[in-house]
């Protein structure tokens, strides 16, 4: 195995340490066989089957592959209008293997189609009512692979048809969302970008996203975005403080506080050129697929950019 791995340029730096470590830690044949049987006999759920056939279900598309946040059904109290609304946020994404290809050694492309809904029982109050239909490409790109640092960039580029819940506002845009990953010694980095960072009370993790939407307005509707040409510059940060010890005590899959803040810059608009949209909450993942939580939402989201402030309880599913 030594000369074969060493002959591969990309794996060269890794090969020697791999082999030394392999020799030092080589498990017995029986142990490997036991692990193999264990891995091969893992129970398969319906969700696993759907996943294996290229379907994902999560809260929103938002450049989050692999079902980061669950699709939710929520009961929300609108703190501005003192009313209760029912809310559903979901994205169904189809990304089959046959639409994927490599581009050289450093890039991987994958085609996708998705339907995203943010629906509410009273769309005069909720800011996040929307439909989004996408056709596009995901890409993983190896940007830098030095001895010490490795940087990859995940990007999604889509054609998007976006409307509010009642299809009064309708836009068609090209959407680009990108986020970097940084590995030091191919492991965690010191600032918790995409990794757990031990902060005493729990594990902290964060990730930045950058995006741009460019397109045209088909119908203005009640949107605060009044220009015909759509140009949105988007900055977004997601953060999570998880409590693995408490999750273990409670016997649940995960327990965490989450925050997701999105800032829209609308340079072509003459009145409201900046909008902020924040979703935060506490979520208990009862299992890998099912969760319960409480959420607080404040701000204005596309396409209508209506300001809202809600607090409520949610039931979540993801796969």
């Amino acid at each position: 195995m030594v000369p074969r791995i060493a002959s591969c340029g990309v794996a060269l730096a890794l090969a020697q340490s791999v082999l030394l470590a392999q020799e030092a830690s080589k498990p017995s044949t029986n142990a490997v066989a036991t692990q193999a049987v264990k891995a091969q006999t893992k129970p398969q759920t319906v969700f696993d089957w759907l996943n294996a056939n290229g379907l994902r279900f999560q809260r929103a598309f938002d450049g989050q592959p692999n079902a980061a946040d669950p699709a939710t059904v929520s009961f929300l109290s609108d703190l501005g209008k003192k009313s209760t609304v029912y809310d559903a946020n979901f994205a169904l994404i189809y990304q089959p293997d046959f639409l994927a290809t490599t581009l050289g050694d450093n890039a991987y492309l994958s085609g996708l189609a998705s339907i995203e809904g943010a629906l509410t029982s009273d769309n005069s109050t909720a800011a996040d009512d929307a439909w989004r239909f996408r056709l596009g490409l995901d890409s993983d790109f190896l940007k830098h692979a030095g001895d010490k640092h490795m940087v990859t960039v995940y990007t999604t580029l889509n054609a998007m048809y976006e409307a509010d819940q009642a299809f009064r506002t309708r836009k068609i845009t090209a959407e680009l969302i990108t986020t970097p990953s940084w590995l030091v010694d191919k492991q965690a980095n010191p600032i918790g970008l995409g990794w757990d960072l031990d902060v005493g009370v729990g594990k902290f993790q964060w990730r930045p996203y950058f995006g741009v939407d460019v397109g045209d307005t088909l119908q203005h509707g009640p949107s605060a975005e009044t220009e015909d040409t759509v140009l949105r510059l988007i900055g977004r940060v997601t953060a999570r403080l998880s409590f693995p010890g408490a999750a273990k005590v409670l016997g649940v899959h995960d327990l965490y506080l989450s925050a997701d803040d999105k800032v829209y810059g609308l340079p072509l608009e003459t009145k409201e050129t900046v909008h902020n949209y924040f979703v935060g909450g506490l979520r208990v993942e009862v299992s890998k697929a099912i969760s319960l939580g409480v959420t607080y939402t404040v701000g204005a989201d596309a396409p209508d950019f209506n300001y809202t402030r809600t607090v409520g309880a949610e039931f979540g599913v993801k796969f």
Binding site: V10, A11, A21, Q35, D140, A188
Partner: protein, 90 residues
């Protein structure tokens, strides 16, 4: 060159060896969890390991055309990656 990863055990040794070298730990097995044992890289970060594992698979003379970053993003344990690579080369 013929693919030298002829059995799932061959794949397991390769994948565990790669992550043993990365994390400088000798106790890794297929049951090692990214979440609880390896610092919990998020799904997008785990996708980066595709660019480390794929060249090692190719260096064994095997086609890695079916291997995808998505499989790494979904992986919860090293065993999941072993399964994905074995599925790819077998």
């Amino acid at each position: 060159m013929a693919c030298l990863l002829q059995t799932r055990d061959d794949v397991s040794k390769l994948v565990i060896g790669i992550f043993t070298a990365i994390f400088k730990r000798s106790d890794l097995t297929e049951n090692t969890s990214f979440t609880t044992d390896l610092g919990n890289p998020d799904a997008i970060t785990r996708r980066a390991y595709y660019f480390i594992v794929k060249p090692a698979v190719v260096a064994e003379g095997c086609s890695a055309g079916k291997l995808s970053p998505d499989a790494f993003g979904k992986a919860e344990t090293l065993g999941d990656i072993v399964d994905d690579v074995w599925h790819c080369v077998s």
